[in-house]
């Protein structure tokens, strides 16, 4: 079972990396860009096939380790 996890900065946290990328895109003549935010994409492959258990563990992993809840949000998708 595979989990795709996206960790992103909370909307009110300053993201200078995203801003730098946006400015770079503007320089390359992509002017119609409203905003850019940088995040992390993490793939975890589980050996367990019990979806309920995997999701339970994954939530804890996302909350306790993969993200810092003070500054980051996360979403995930589980694939069989």
């Amino acid at each position: 079972m595979k989990a795709n996890v996206y960790v992103t900065l909370k909307p009110d946290v300053l993201d200078p990396e995203g801003l730098t990328i946006k400015n770079a895109l503007n320089t390359l003549n992509y002017k119609k860009i409203k905003n850019v935010r940088m995040g992390k994409f993490i793939v975890i492959e589980f050996t367990d096939s019990n979806r309920e258990k995997v999701e339970q563990d994954l939530k804890k992993i996302c909350h306790d380790i993969l993200s810092n809840p003070i500054i980051e949000d996360y979403t995930y998708k589980i694939e069989d």
Partner: protein, 228 residues
């Protein structure tokens, strides 16, 4: 007094901290490997600077789960002294021994230079000295301290903000802030006041030959506190 300098994989300021405590401050000091528990009776632990676990995931995020950290948390609960410098501060934040979080510097550059700090509290084990404006170097890429409004209010109300970035006259200004930290925060203590986390490196200015002695004031304050 006995000091322990914790070494994580990727710590690189452990030797400077050890050297200062042993040869400059003339104290007993041990290296403590991150996989060990803290067996003997230490008086103060130092979490040094560096790039523990390569700063992978987030600075301090993985070191926070090192085996030694459960002993560090017990040590903290007993009210004993812990000093977290730079990556050490980041680890203490991730371990929730200090409130708030650290993100990338506003400028996205690794900032390595002397800064000035204004000391807000003298009544802590770490800052019991007269000097009010210190000159200590920073060297970090993720030094932007961040906390929500409630946490910031709590830090202010409980006098937990110890150092703020300032100019050489002690004025807290935007240009004196090397990384965008909220409220120009450079160092904080926990509510109990036994844990200090600071981004600047006092171990890099504890000898005249290295260009400054302001860092030594912090170590002297710790030793004097332990001796009373």
């Amino acid at each position: 007094m006995k000091f322990g300098v914790i070494v994580f994989p990727g710590s690189n300021c452990d030797m400077d901290c050890y050297y200062v405590m042993k040869d400059v401050m003339k104290q007993k000091v041990d290296y403590l490997w991150h996989k060990d528990s803290i067996r003997e009776d230490y008086d103060c632990l130092i979490l040094p600077g560096g790039f523990s676990y390569g700063d992978y995931l987030r600075a301090g995020a993985i070191a926070r789960f090192s085996p030694i950290m459960s002993s560090v948390i017990e040590f903290a609960k007993k009210g004993k002294l812990i000093l977290g410098i730079c990556n050490g501060f980041q680890i203490l934040l991730e371990a929730k021994l200090l409130p708030g979080a650290m993100i990338k510097n506003n400028c996205l550059q690794f900032v390595c230079k002397y800064v000035h700090l204004t000391k807000l509290m003298s009544q802590t084990p770490f800052t019991n000295f007269e000097k009010e404006i210190l000159k200590i170097p920073v060297a970090h890429g993720e030094g932007h301290y961040i906390a929500d409004d409630n946490t910031l209010k709590e830090l202010q109300n409980n006098n937990q903000i110890i150092f703020r970035y300032c100019d050489e006259k002690g004025q807290v200004t935007e240009s004196a802030n090397p990384n965008g930290s909220i409220f120009n925060i450079a160092g904080i203590v926990n509510k109990k006041g036994n844990i200090l986390g600071m981004m600047p490196h006092p171990e890099r200015c504890s000898e005249e030959e290295l260009g400054g002695l302001d860092g030594k004031l912090i170590f002297e304050s710790i030793i004097n506190h332990l001796n009373t």
